[in-house]
Amino acid sequence: LPTDFDWRDHGAVTGVKDQGSCGSCWSFSTTGALEGAHYLSTGELVSLSEQQLVDCDHECDPQEYGACDSGCNGGLMTTAFEYTLKAGGLEREDDYPYTGNDRGACKFDKSKIAASVSNFSVISVNEDQIAANLVKHGPLAVGINAVFMQTYMKGVSCPYICGRHLDHGVLLVGYGSAGYAPIRFKEKPYWIIKNSWGENWGEEGYYKICRGRNVCGVDSMVSSVAALQTKSQ
């Protein structure tokens, strides 16, 4: 594994998006992972539609009654991958733009599919495996506890205490080996996270969180997706 890695340097990450006042973080995490996977399989970076997921994805967890993807009321990346697999794929952002609400009907047009899922999987709570899957398969959809993110401005977040209850979906795009020195000037590694709160939050829309001890639960819900090798129309 390289000591430092960032998919932004390899052209696999679209610009930072803004979910607005809508609990649709799960859809942005999902599209981010598929955008990266599609780039790896085709060499083409396409911004994909979150609104399609918000409007059309009502996929439910088969093991938990009533646990379904539900627009601005929340969802889950793995069930969104399942929806995308069943629906055939996602449209481009331009063809199905984001509105920031879930009051509209589903307007999915199958003839406009730009990227498709071939497979997805969950990754074990092991930081080396997460890094290896990141480098091999592209950006990963992850869950995180966002309690420190409301006041975060910049730097590497490494709280002494942080709950591991996951409440926010984000995209893991890279890692660094030596980003901060908490004590004794000993440099520590960190993850690079793409968020969906616009560029005027955090480090131009990004969040850095320290690696090594599943801080804020960042290692505990990680999923990877692979895209079909089809060029978008």
């Binding site: 594994l1 967890d61 497979n119 999987s121 590497v156």
Partner: protein
């Protein structure tokens, strides 16, 4: 009062750090500037409020978030915490409007990623 935390994990167990809990001596000074910071905040993020009551309520929330940012700074010293676009929201408003991850109950048939080699 103070909070004593284990600063480091197993790789550096010798150091403990003692931090103030943020309710101490300089919190009053901090809040004296709250109204000025709130004016800057409204200007930077284009915030307007429909009524004076709403404005005053949001100022109260903003002050509470300044105290919260200070606590976060003590608990998370390698990052910078402060005023953000969410500083006029209560924690529950923030959760309701900007988070939205359902709890994961991993299905038994979920496909687990194969273990990849990580040596070299």
């Amino acid at each position: 009062s103070a909070v004593v935390s284990d600063v480091v994990s197993e790789d550096d167990p010798l150091i403990r750090q003692v931090v103030s809990n943020g309710a101490g001596e300089d919190s009053d000074d901090h809040l004296l500037n709250a109204e000025h910071h709130f004016t800057l905040f409204k200007s930077k993020y284009g915030k307007t409020y429909a009524t004076q009551e709403e404005h005053d309520y949001r100022l109260g929330v903003f002050k509470a978030n300044l105290r919260r940012a200070k606590r976060h700074q003590l608990l998370d010293p390698t990052a910078v915490h402060g005023v953000t676009k969410f500083s006029d929201l209560t924690p529950s408003e923030f959760r309701r409007q900007f988070l939205g991850l359902r709890p994961l109950k991993l299905p038994a048939d979920a496909q687990k990623a194969p273990i990849l080699p990580t040596n070299d």
